[in-house]
């Protein structure tokens, strides 16, 4: 997503405000469409969180009961912190696991090879996440592929399904390709002369990474981390099918409340809390990404 940021600020020659039939034909359709099918739904969901449910039917009202009910429930807060922590761990882990791979792609392979690697990494992003998760289910199961292979060397069986490991593997299926792409593109854009200069001045390789590469790719890395967090935080498939859902994450809570309980207003409360949390985290992330304070590194 970082790619078209520069495009948005591209200067045009005809930059004065023109309003005629031609300009409106291109400007208006999306406004109309997004109001009807994006702003409408989201605002209605906020309104719905104040509605009442009586005899399994929703009636329009303005009561805070859903909010107070949800906020007084322990399971809601347990779920909130659990989701926050596991999404955070997933982000950290994905960033760390992705780094050596992105580093290799950015500095140790030819440009052609890198282009092909990114080409391949885009593929899973647009293919069925559901099927890949189900495939992991079969691979990680107690009698699944990994344990069957391990049994040949008399190891195992290890229980991986219905644990946090399962959840994290599922999250990574979703996030790892994206994070590698973003990290690689960021690092590949670093001026190679800076790295060479550091090397010629006698800087050790790990110090080059720490003092040159990471500070220079800060913005891209934080954006990758924010995307990774959003994807993990909002995913219900991995914790449900691979994590066993005994500890429900917030998305599972939404699912249960909507599908089985018919309690749409309470699901809306959970959804709004999630959105506020995500916006706060994205905001902090982007602020840090574009701040300059890191540049005067005192170490």
């Amino acid at each position: 997503m970082g790619g078209f940021n520069t495009a948005l600020f591209f200067d045009m020659k005809s930059n004065r405000e023109t309003i005629n039939l031609y300009s409106l034909t291109f400007r208006v359709p999306i406004i109309f469409w997004q109001l009807l099918f994006f702003v409408g739904p989201v605002l209605f969901m906020v309104a719905m969180s104040f509605f009442l449910v009586k005899n399994y039917r929703m009636t329009e009202a303005f009561e805070f009961i859903n909010w107070t009910k949800m906020f007084s429930k322990n399971y809601f807060w347990d779920s909130y912190w659990f989701t926050l922590i596991i999404a955070f761990i997933s982000t950290l882990l994905t960033m760390v696991i992705a780094f050596p791979a992105s580093f290799t792609l950015a500095f140790r392979v030819s440009e052609n090879f890198r282009r092909w690697a990114i080409f391949l990494l885009i593929i899973p992003f647009f293919t069925s996440y559901l099927v890949r998760t189900f495939s992991w289910y079969v691979i990680l199961a107690e009698k699944g592929v990994i344990n069957a292979l391990l049994s040949y060397i008399n190891l195992g069986p290890f229980i991986m399904l219905n644990t946090h490991i399962g959840t994290l593997v599922g999250y990574m299926t979703l996030t790892l390709p994206l994070v590698i792409i973003l990290q690689t593109v960021t690092m590949a854009n670093i001026d190679k002369n800076l790295i060479e200069a550091a090397f010629n001045l006698g800087c050790k390789p790990y110090l080059i990474i720490q003092r040159v590469i990471i500070p220079l790719s800060k913005t891209g890395f934080i954006i990758a981390a924010v995307f990774c967090f959003i994807l993990s935080f909002g995913d219900f498939v991995a914790p449900f099918y691979l994590g066993g859902s005994q500890e429900p994450t917030l998305p599972i809570l939404i699912l249960d409340t909507t599908k089985s309980g018919q309690q749409w207003p309470r699901a809306a409360v959970v959804a709004i809390v999630m959105m506020v949390t995500l916006f706060a985290i994205a905001f902090i992330g982007i602020m840090t990404a574009y701040s300059k304070s890191f540049k005067n590194d005192k170490r």
């Binding site: 790619g3 948005l8 045009m12 004065r16 405000e17 023109t18 031609y22 300009s23 291109f26 400007r27 359709p29 406004i31 469409w33 009807l36 099918f37 994006f38 409408g40 739904p41 989201v42 209605f44 969901m45 050596p100 791979a101 580093f103 140790r108 690697a117 080409f119 885009i122 293919t127 069925s128 559901l130 099927v131 890949r132 998760t133 189900f134 495939s135 992991w136 289910y137 079969v138 199961a141 592929v145 069957a148 292979l149 299926t173 790892l176 590698i180 390789p205 935080f233 909002g234 995913d235 219900f236 998305p251 939404i254 699912l255 909507t258 749409w264 809306a268 959804a271 999630m274 959105m275």
Partner: protein, 265 residues
Amino acid sequence: MTKDKFYNLILKFYLFFIFVFIFTPIAFSIIFSFNSQRFPTIPLGNFSIEWYIKIFNDAEIWQAAINSVVVSSITCLIATFLGFCTAYSDYRYRFKFKGIYLALVLLPPTIPLIILALAMLAWLSKIGMSGQLWSIICAHSVLTAPFAMAIIRLRLNQMDPDLEAASWNLGGSEWDTMRNVILPYCRPAIISSLCLTAAVSFDEFAISWFVSGLNKTVPVIILEIVQGNIDPQVNAIGTFVFFTSITLVITAQIFFLTWQMKGKK
């Protein structure tokens, strides 16, 4: 230098391992779809196409496949149309509240699907549009329009701004210029965008599951089968789904890479 070569080797091995991790689930899904065992594991059972025969004879799956094709093909047209209009507006004009305008378009993919799904379900029920194929199409086009916008915007960025002005000076109207200059210039990006938005729509399950009612699409069927029990049918359906989306994504990328490379020269 030998030390450097050693590091290089380790790093490349690591990279290989990461690619294995990413593509393992895809590979196993395909392998297991031809496997006779009910609970697939290693050692593999016999080669069999029974799961394919089973889904082939399942009327519900056929219906879902038709639904999916209808939804994704209409979605990709709407999303690409909206994406093109927005990208062009952004390229050509400056206007008040442009920041908000662009945020409105680009925001939906950053919101977790389950939240969009809940919001869509509630809203579409309210305005009486829930449970139809149309409901899925509307929701999907909101979700995928930003992808279309991004791809087409990148293409427009490569266009010489004087091209449009030259066409006007030669006497073409704005509409003529659009039809004879801008649209042909954007054609590869438009094809890329059609393929990618169709692929996203074809694989999307959360929103479809919430708003589809009885008109299930293929991912919704997969979700329902997976909820029940281990059933290798999923692998067979999944393999079909994979090949459909992979074909779309690769077609999109071929068009994308072709014009990217031409643009550089």
